[in-house]
C-alpha cells in the first residue's frame, strides 16, 4: 500500500512540474487534469470516497473543460 501511494504521489509531482513547464497550453491543461485524477485516486486509497468523487468530477472534468475553453479562446502556445 505504501509503495502504491508513493508511486501515485511521485506521478502527481511529475505531472505538476510538467504542467508548469509545457509551452503548449493544451498539454499543460491535460497534465493538470492528471494531477486531479491522481489526487482522486489518492483520496480513494485514503478511504475518503466522497471527496474522491468530488475531486474527480470537479477537478478532473469541469475545471479541465473550462480551461480548454479558455485556451481555445486565447492563445494555444506560451511565448
Amino acid at each position: 500500500m505504501e509503495i502504491i501511494l508513493s508511486i501515485i504521489i511521485l506521478l502527481m509531482i511529475a505531472s505538476a512540474i510538467a504542467a508548469a513547464v509545457f509551452k503548449d497550453l493544451m498539454n499543460a491543461v491535460i497534465a493538470s487534469c492528471i494531477v486531479s485524477l491522481l489526487a482522486a485516486i489518492l483520496f480513494f486509497c485514503l478511504q475518503a470516497p466522497d471527496v474522491a468523487m468530488a475531486e474527480a468530477a470537479i477537478g478532473a472534468a469541469l475545471v479541465t473543460g473550462i480551461f480548454v475553453i479558455a485556451v481555445k479562446r486565447t492563445k494555444r502556445f506560451e511565448e
Binding site: 466522497d50 468523487m53 470537479i58 473543460g65 473550462i66
Partner: protein, 228 residues
C-alpha cells in the same frame, strides 16, 4: 539569481510544512465528535453514509450557505458575461468528427444516469448532491464540446434550479413549523440501508443535486456562449 532565490524559498516552505505535519498523527481520531457520529449517527438520522448525515442533517444550515455561495457565483458570472454582445454562431461552427459526435451522444445518457444515481443514493453510498450534480454538469460539458450547436434550454434549467432551492428551503421551513428547529427531520426514518429511509435527507440531496447540476451547466453554457 531569482531562480536560486525561488528554490531556496520553496525549500524553506517545504521544510516548514514537513516539520509542522510531522507532529500531527495521521489517520487517528483525536476528537470526541467523530466517535459520537460513528456511534449514534445511523440511529439518529437513519442514513448509512456518515458524511451525508453530517452534511445534510447535523450541519444542514451550513450546506444551505454553501449552495448560496455557488448560486451567487453563477449569477455573478452570468451577469459578467451577458453584458457582452452575443456573437453570431452556428454558421461558422465546424462540426466535430463522426467518432467524437457518436461517442459523446453515447456517453451523455450514461453520465446523466450515473450522476442521478449518485445523488439519489447519497444517503446510502458515498457521494451526494454536489458530486452527482457535478457529474451531470460534466455530461453537459461533454455535449457542448463534442456536439457543437446543441444548447440547453435556458428556461428549463432555471426552473430546475429554482425547484432545487425551493425543496431545500421549503423542507427547512416545514421542519421549523412541525418540529422545533430549521431542517428538523420530521419524516419517518425507516430502516437504515433502504432507499426510502432517513426522512428528509434524500429529498434534500436530490434538491441539491438538481440545483448544483443546473447551476454548473449554466456556468458552462455562459462560457461556451462567449467563446464560440
Amino acid at each position: 539569481m531569482r531562480k536560486l532565490l525561488g528554490i531556496i524559498l520553496l525549500a524553506v516552505i517545504a521544510a516548514g510544512i514537513a516539520l509542522s505535519l510531522e507532529e500531527i498523527p495521521f489517520g487517528i481520531s483525536k476528537t470526541i465528535i467523530g466517535d459520537y457520529f460513528n456511534k449514534n449517527g445511523v440511529e439518529e438520522t437513519g442514513a448509512t453514509n456518515m458524511v451525508t448525515s453530517v452534511v445534510v442533517s447535523y450541519r444542514g444550515f451550513d450546506t444551505l450557505g454553501e449552495i448560496t455561495v455557488l448560486f451567487t457565483a453563477a449569477i455573478g458570472l452570468g451577469a459578467l458575461l451577458t453584458g457582452h454582445k452575443k456573437r453570431e454562431h452556428s454558421d461558422k461552427v465546424e462540426p466535430s468528427s463522426l467518432i467524437v459526435y457518436t461517442g459523446c451522444r453515447f456517453l451523455f445518457p450514461v453520465l446523466m444516469l450515473v450522476g442521478t444515481y449518485i445523488f439519489i443514493h447519497g444517503h446510502l453510498t458515498p457521494g451526494g448532491g454536489f458530486q452527482g450534480g457535478a457529474i451531470v454538469a460534466s455530461g453537459f460539458l461533454l455535449m457542448y464540446l463534442g456536439c457543437k450547436g446543441k444548447r440547453i434550454k435556458f428556461k428549463a434549467s432555471t426552473v430546475i434550479e429554482v425547484l432545487g432551492g425551493l425543496i431545500f428551503v421549503g423542507l427547512g421551513i416545514a421542519g421549523l413549523t412541525m418540529g422545533e428547529d430549521f431542517l428538523f427531520n420530521f419524516l419517518p426514518k425507516g430502516e437504515a440501508g433502504e432507499l426510502f429511509s432517513a426522512g428528509i435527507i434524500p429529498i434534500i440531496y436530490i434538491g441539491i443535486g438538481l440545483k448544483v447540476g443546473s447551476e454548473l451547466a449554466g456556468i458552462i453554457d455562459n462560457l461556451i456562449e462567449e467563446s464560440t
